[in-house]
């Protein structure tokens, strides 16, 4: 088994008196999809925001490619090659696909004038590398895209920057059946190309379909980190709802303490 590309060790985070994350260990491996699951309020978003540099951490360590890093600012993880695709997508409707994919990082000639042709080509090859077949033109306005297409663009935007780790927050939440399948295929391809992918999801079908590994959070603690091939949906659901399942999960003492 390869070394994790992103490691979180013994991370603690409190908001005032509320201890949100408790000694959290979390690993992302290159070429694998790691699902981060947990009920509402389990601390998924807080964990992601700590890694994204939006929240500071109280104690613990984040290591990227084996080296400890401090996510003091949202630009730090981006600079390292960690991309975040948020639920509300963060696309500008009035711009086209290329313009959105390059937003804030436009290619220019002479530092001022845009190199639209150059960007168009790169956007196209990024979408091609993901075998995206749902868009016919990278010059389409995002306003005219369907939910699945938007999600595709948001993910492709992350790919464009040779990212090494991609976090996807509920990428299939608002999608129909066919579109969900397309996006999940895309998630799988991201990992197959060697990236570490983190899939945050409530949907156990999605998790079982694409994830290699599942980390279940229960009230701010990691209940278990297991391989999907060695577990079942009902076990994961139990981990999410009660923090333990058969031999897996937190000790009853820990569960009681947290509650």
């Amino acid at each position: 088994m390869s070394e994790p590309i992103l490691e979180v060790r013994q991370l603690n985070k409190s908001f005032g008196p509320v201890h949100v994350l408790h000694d959290v260990d979390f690993n992302v491996y290159p070429g694998e999809v790691t699902a981060l699951v947990g009920d509402n309020g389990a601390g998924k978003s807080t964990l992601v925001k700590c890694i994204a540099g939006i929240h500071g951490i109280d104690s613990g360590e984040i290591r990227f490619e084996g080296k400890p890093v401090t996510m003091s600012d949202p630009r730090v993880p981006t600079g390292l090659g960690i991309e975040f695709v948020y639920q509300d997508l963060a696309l500008a409707d009035n711009l086209d696909i290329t313009q959105n994919m390059f937003l804030g990082r436009e290619l220019t000639s002479g530092g001022i004038f845009l190199s639209d042709g150059q960007m168009e080509k790169q956007a196209r090859s990024a979408l091609e590398s993901l075998s995206v077949r749902t868009v016919s033109s990278v010059r389409q306005q995002v306003a005219s895209l369907s939910g699945g297409q938007r999600q595709t663009v948001a993910i492709a935007k992350a790919v464009l920057w040779n990212s090494k780790v991609v976090f996807l927050d509920e990428p299939t939440a608002a999608l129909g059946v066919a579109q969900t399948k397309q996006v999940l295929d895309l998630v799988r391809r991201l990992a197959d190309q060697g990236r570490g992918v983190v899939l945050i999801s409530h949907n156990m079908n999605d998790v079982m379909a694409v994830a290699d590994r599942v980390a279940a959070l229960f009230l701010g603690r990691v209940a278990a980190e297991v391989k999907t091939s060695e577990t079942t949906t009902s076990q994961i659901v139990e981990l999410i709802t009660s923090g333990r399942s058969d031999g897996l999960g937190l000790s009853s003492a820990a569960v009681n303490e947290t509650i």
Binding site: R75, T78, Y86, D88, L89, A90, L91, A92, D93, N94, L95, Q99, N100, L103, G104, R105, E106, T108, I112, F113, L114, G117, E120, K121, R124, L127, E128, V132, R133, T134, V135, S136, S137, V138, R139, Q140, A143, S144, L145, S146, G148, Q149, A178, Q179, Q182
Partner: protein, 477 residues
């Protein structure tokens, strides 16, 4: 890439996924003349009418007014339209930047009035130090220094340099020379815009309230600046000719050849370059057709403009009006800034989705401040043109309907009040519509001036209605 229909079937039932999805076939196509036409029809149907409604509205107005008075279509009358409307076009051009953000600037007119008023004081009294009331002179200097600091703090370095230039010109009293006074007025406009932008983007007061307050305040400041005395601008040839002057026939030809030539050369070069790079591009015939139409219009207009249009035989009026040339040049510059530069792209992004822009690492505050700074700078230039066309830096320069007409011009042209949609071209077309209405009505004295406001209001309402309907269609499709 060859057209392979079997792949297209994998595109899935994603609704709007076009038939040749997945191969980016639309991105390598050559856009031919029929293709461009059907694409334009398609955009019309899906709620992107572009300039069509405003142009159609203009044609309807022209047809009506040509029936009302036979003088309407005379060369003399048409030649007057740029003189009467240039200030609306220029202020509206500035307002487009702010509207693109989904904000509004109600103060651009009166701010422009203050700037033009200061320029008038500077040249007529020979020194701002003596011409302005003492407290106002020192307030101006302090305000400029503060604006430089604000601009630097908010990372608007170009604005900072411009404002600093204005400060230097005022302190050294170079403003006694007319050209420099006008430049300084525009720099003061930039300073005002930085201040407005800071209040909106950094302090967080809604732009409607900030600029409404400043709209009122600048009117009073103008009266302080003029010490209650309007200043005649007809004595200053250059100032007067900004709206009343005409390019000489030779200069007119040079102007039109440069404008059309640059346009043709640029579009042709882009098309050929995109073709070489394997990107979607317009076919050479399409480029030539479009360029040819524009060139033909340019040539006809220049020929007509270069013949004497004065009905009075003692004085010859010929050549392209200077205010028309000013509006065209500013429109081209604004278009280049908005569509070809990173700054323009970021401005559209902030207007479309400020949160997305912020997450993409764009400094939203900086972009907003720059838009307000530009808006007030254009406002200052508009104020200068207004003072020229009404022959006086009057006590109410830039107040009353000036600003509302300019906002109306931008909206009639098709700029959305909700941000993210609009072009500088819209502002100029809208300004022509707004100018034609009083121009046509004045030719028929039996229709009183009260009609002007009713008709302008109706046109604005229709334009806003077209915008709302087209947005609904765009949302549905």
């Amino acid at each position: 890439m060859s057209s392979n229909t079997s792949l297209a079937k994998t595109s899935g039932p994603s609704g709007s996924g076009p038939e040749r999805a997945g191969q980016f076939s639309l991105d390598v196509d050559e856009r031919t003349i029929p293709g461009a036409f059907s694409g334009w029809l398609g955009r019309l149907r899906t709620g992107e009418p572009g300039a069509l409604p405003s142009v159609l509205g203009l044609i309807v107005l022209v047809v009506i007014f040509s029936q009302v008075s036979h003088q309407f279509l005379s060369k003399f009358n048409i030649g007057n339209i740029p003189t009467q409307g240039a200030y609306i076009a220029v202020i509206a051009l500035g307002i487009v930047f702010v509207l693109l953000l989904g904000e509004i600037d109600l103060s651009a007119g009166t701010a422009g009035g203050v700037c033009a008023g200061i320029a008038a004081v500077a040249v007529s009294k020979g020194s701002l130090h003596d011409g302005l009331p003492g407290t106002m002179y020192w307030s101006l200097l302090i305000g400029q220094v503060l604006a430089v600091a604000l601009a630097v703090w908010l990372k608007n370095y170009v604005a900072a340099v411009v404002v600093a230039l204005g400060f230097v010109l005022v302190v050294t009293n170079l403003t006694q020379h007319l050209v420099i006074a006008l430049v300084a007025a525009i720099c003061i406009g930039t300073a005002i815009g930085v201040f407005t932008g800071w209040l909106v983007a950094k302090v967080g007061i809604p732009s409607f309230v900030v600029t409404l307050a400043l709209f009122l305040a600048w009117q009073g400041v103008l009266q302080f600046a003029l010490s209650g005395q309007p200043i005649n601008t007809t004595n200053y040839d250059l100032w007067h000719n900004l709206t009343y002057g005409n390019l000489s026939p030779v200069a007119s030809w040079i102007f039109i050849i440069v404008v059309v030539g640059l346009y043709l050369g640029y579009t042709l070069l882009t098309s050929l370059r995109a073709k070489r790079a394997g990107l979607a591009h317009d076919a050479v015939e399409l480029v030539l057709l479009r360029g040819g139409v524009i060139a033909a219009v340019g040539v006809v207009v220049t020929i007509l403009a270069n013949t004497n249009r004065n009905t009075n035989p003692y004085r010859i009026i010929e050549g392209i009006p200077v205010p028309a040339a000013i509006a065209i040049v500013l429109m081209v510059l604004a278009t280049i800034a908005l569509t070809k530069t990173t700054w323009g792209r970021h401005l559209y992004a902030v207007g479309g989705n400020a949160e997305a822009a912020r997450r993409a690492g764009i400094d939203v505050v900086r972009i907003k401040v720059s838009a307000f700074a530009l808006c007030s700078s254009f406002g200052a230039f508009g104020g200068i043109l207004l003072a020229s066309s009404q022959s006086s830096a009057s006590l109410d320069l830039g107040s009353s309907n000036v600003l509302l007409f300019s906002v109306a011009a931008a909206v009639i042209g098709g700029t959305s009040l909700f941000g993210g949609r609009g072009k500088p071209r819209d502002a100029v077309i809208g300004a022509i519509v707004i100018t034609v209405i009083p121009n046509g009505l004045l030719l028929k004295p039996s229709l009183g001036p009260q009609w002007q406001q009713v008709i302008t209001g109706a046109v604005l309402l229709i334009a806003a209605g077209v915008d709302a309907i087209s947005r609904r269609r765009a949302a549905r499709s």
